[in-house]
């Protein structure tokens, strides 16, 4: 008689300190070795139904409801699609530059928040530090200058968004074909007052991320790492462009898979695989197929895919990062943080250039459309990676179909790979130790995923760690921070 040992499942949910919540399941084989790890992500579904039938000019405002952390990215991606729907191929300089200022403000505040308040506790206190200390309040107590820096950088970016997009919740800055306001001299001068401080802090942030990565390289080089393709938008001359560009995909060693592809045709190059265990799809490059065609997006992928950065200090920092891998693409998962800080510096350099550009005080805010379209794609490099908005609109100006591929979906396979790698390297026995949990969180946080902004309402965010056997019987459970009243 053959004795069968059932595989065991270890479940961790939700992952702390990423937006929304997710669940990690680790499936063990009969030898109690990791067979597979899966990151389950709960998406906020029903948006397509919500938006169908709405007039196209409302869409840039409505899509901000998708995400409380990066509403500007959805706002701008939708506005870019609706420019084309309205028949506008070219925005007036004031409109495009105001949108860029909004976008760089968004990138700046998002990257600052992530680095100082999500990641810095891991880097400053170590992966094994007590979670009661390893958080932003711990940073505030022991490194108050860094915590203040993070808050003030985030605030600077948020104020830029307010000046360009309007109210935090009902931002209406970008409209089909343009923008609804310019930047006054008084507003500009307010931002110029703090600009040098923001530049200084950004330089220091790059230095901090670089120093951490280089100092801990031996530990980090293999941590949750793997070779992958990389995907993103680049300008026609190959420069990084976070607002607009053409598609480029490269292999793990830097060979171009495709380049300078008009993103209106993205569906000819990308496809999405559905897996029965996940609500979220798994995008891949069609020509390579689902097994070899998955790719990474976001700061590290953007640094890898571009030929250069067109602002001097960020370009210098990019060259230093690329030197780590002798100019070849960097596939170290934890290098995302260094890449993110390079983009932070790039964003504030761009903000500086824009604030000194008199076009921001121009009065031509909107272009007149010519030939209206019924189908258009808007694409942007959001803080977490490439964001695709794809719409069809009928003759009554109503949206009839929309398809969104968000950054976190692009990074679905890489995040699963990272979790699996960490689980294989650090799981011992069948217990989710604090050390394993921390490392899984650290690996996922490198991608800065937006798991779900479904609702943050009180009572919705428990942290539970649970181990189940093959029959689904709980054998171990750990919960922290749950309010017993809700």
């Amino acid at each position: 008689m053959v004795k069968t040992t059932h595989p065991r499942k270890i479940i961790i949910e939700p992952v702390t300190r990423v937006e929304g919540h997710g669940k990690v399941t680790i499936l063990l084989d009969e030898h109690r070795k990791v067979q597979q790890a899966r990151l389950h992500i709960v998406e906020f579904r029903g948006f397509e139904r919500f938006i169908q039938g709405r007039p196209y000019w409302e869409v840039p405002v409505l899509v901000q409801r998708l995400c409380g952390i990066c509403p500007v990215s959805h706002h701008l991606a939708a506005a870019k699609a609706m420019d084309l729907i309205a028949g506008v191929d070219q925005l007036p300089p004031t409109a495009e530059k105001m949108r860029r200022l909004m976008h760089y403000g968004q990138m700046f505040q998002s990257h600052a928040l992530h680095f100082f308040h999500l990641v810095s506790p891991d880097l400053l206190f170590g992966f094994d530090a007590d979670p009661a200390i390893r958080n932003v309040i711990g940073v505030a107590r022991q490194f108050p200058h860094l915590a203040v820096q993070g808050v003030m950088m985030r605030k600077y970016g948020q104020e830029l968004i307010k000046a360009t997009a309007g109210k935090k919740i009902h931002g209406t800055g970008a409209i089909p074909g343009g923008i609804n306001k310019n930047l006054s001299i008084a507003e500009r001068d307010e931002f110029l007052k703090d600009l040098d401080q923001m530049l200084k802090w950004s330089r220091e942030s790059v230095a901090l991320a670089k120093e951490y990565t280089v100092t801990h390289l031996k530990e980090l080089v293999d941590f949750g790492s793997f070779e992958s393709n990389h995907f993103g938008l680049v300008r026609k001359d190959g420069a990084m462009d976070l607002y607009h560009g053409n598609l480029r995909a490269i292999t793990a060693d830097g060979q171009k898979i495709f380049d300078q592809v008009d993103y209106q045709t993205y569906a000819d190059y990308l496809a999405e695989e559905v897996k029965p265990w996940s609500y979220m799809k798994f995008p891949f490059i069609q020509s390579l197929g689902p097994d070899r065609g998955w790719y990474r997006v976001g700061p590290l992928a953007r640094i890898n895919t571009c030929d250069f950065i067109d602002t001097p200090e960020a370009e210098g920092a990019r060259q230093e990062l690329m030197a780590l891998t002798q100019g070849k693409p960097n596939n170290i998962t934890m290098a995302y943080h260094w890449a993110r800080m390079i983009e932070l510096l790039h964003s504030i350099e761009k903000i500086k250039d824009l604030l000194h550009d008199p076009d921001l005080q121009g009065v031509e805010l909107r272009a007149q459309g010519r030939t209206r379209r019924s189908h258009a794609v808007g694409m942007i490099e959001a803080p977490r990676g490439t964001l695709i908005h794809d719409y069809e609109v009928n003759e009554q100006d109503q949206v009839t179909r929309c398809n969104l591929i968000v950054s976190t979906t692009h990074n679905n396979t890489p995040m699963n790979r990272a979790v699996e790698k960490v689980a294989r390297d650090f799981l011992s026995g069948t217990e989710v130790t604090e050390g394993l949990l921390n490392r899984i969180e650290v690996a996922i946080r490198a991608y800065d995923p937006c798991l779900s902004c479904a609702t943050h309402a009180m009572g919705r965010m428990p942290l539970t760690v649970e181990i189940q056997d093959a029959q689904g019987i709980r054998v171990h459970r750990r919960t922290r921070g749950v309010d017993p009243d809700v």
């Binding site: 919500f50 409380g68 928040l113 309402a457």
Partner: protein
């Protein structure tokens, strides 16, 4: 010099009753509330500590998935840790950050309005949530106008 009162409503107006916080702030805009700062956002974030630090009293207004109807009102104690997510910062953490980073001393409260529908897109409130919102506004507006909010309840006392 500190301003008197900040009322900060947060939640997603596209997430049905999750929008109760911003809806409350919008309703309060129709009242004459001198020296009161009204703000709303999708969620609390760390830079709200800087805004809170500019005020003597802060009222956080949020939807709640459970708890007393039509609302709960209670004092916020500084939180020692962030409970789950820095992207879902709790009011107590905002107060702690305001104190530790900016040296502020703030008297803070939470107005937790009971909601019922959260898991879909939709820019409207359920009928029960609208009723609860009306009661919450009726409660908060006179306190905010009369400068009596800090003495409206004893510490940790709950009103509903």
């Amino acid at each position: 010099m500190s301003k008197r009162l900040l009322i900060l409503g947060y939640g997603n107006p596209g997430g049905l009753d999750d929008g109760l916080g911003p809806a409350c702030v919008e309703a309060l805009r129709s009242f004459d509330l001198p020296d009161v700062t009204l703000e709303s956002d999708y969620q609390l974030t760390v830079e709200d500590a800087a805004l809170a630090a500019e005020h003597e009293v802060v009222v956080f207004v949020d939807a709640t998935v459970a708890g007393p109807e039509p609302f709960d009102f209670f004092e916020v104690q500084p939180a020692e840790t962030l409970s789950f997510s820095s992207h879902v910062v709790e009011p107590g953490a905002v107060i702690t950050l305001a104190e530790s980073l900016f040296g502020a001393r703030i008297h803070a409260f939470t107005l937790a309005i009971r909601g019922y529908q959260f898991n879909e897109f939709g820019e409207y409130l359920s009928q029960q949530a609208r009723n609860n919102l009306a009661a919450a506004v009726q409660f908060l507006a006179p306190l905010a106008r009369s400068h009596t909010l800090p003495t409206a309840l004893k510490p940790k006392a709950r009103m509903n």
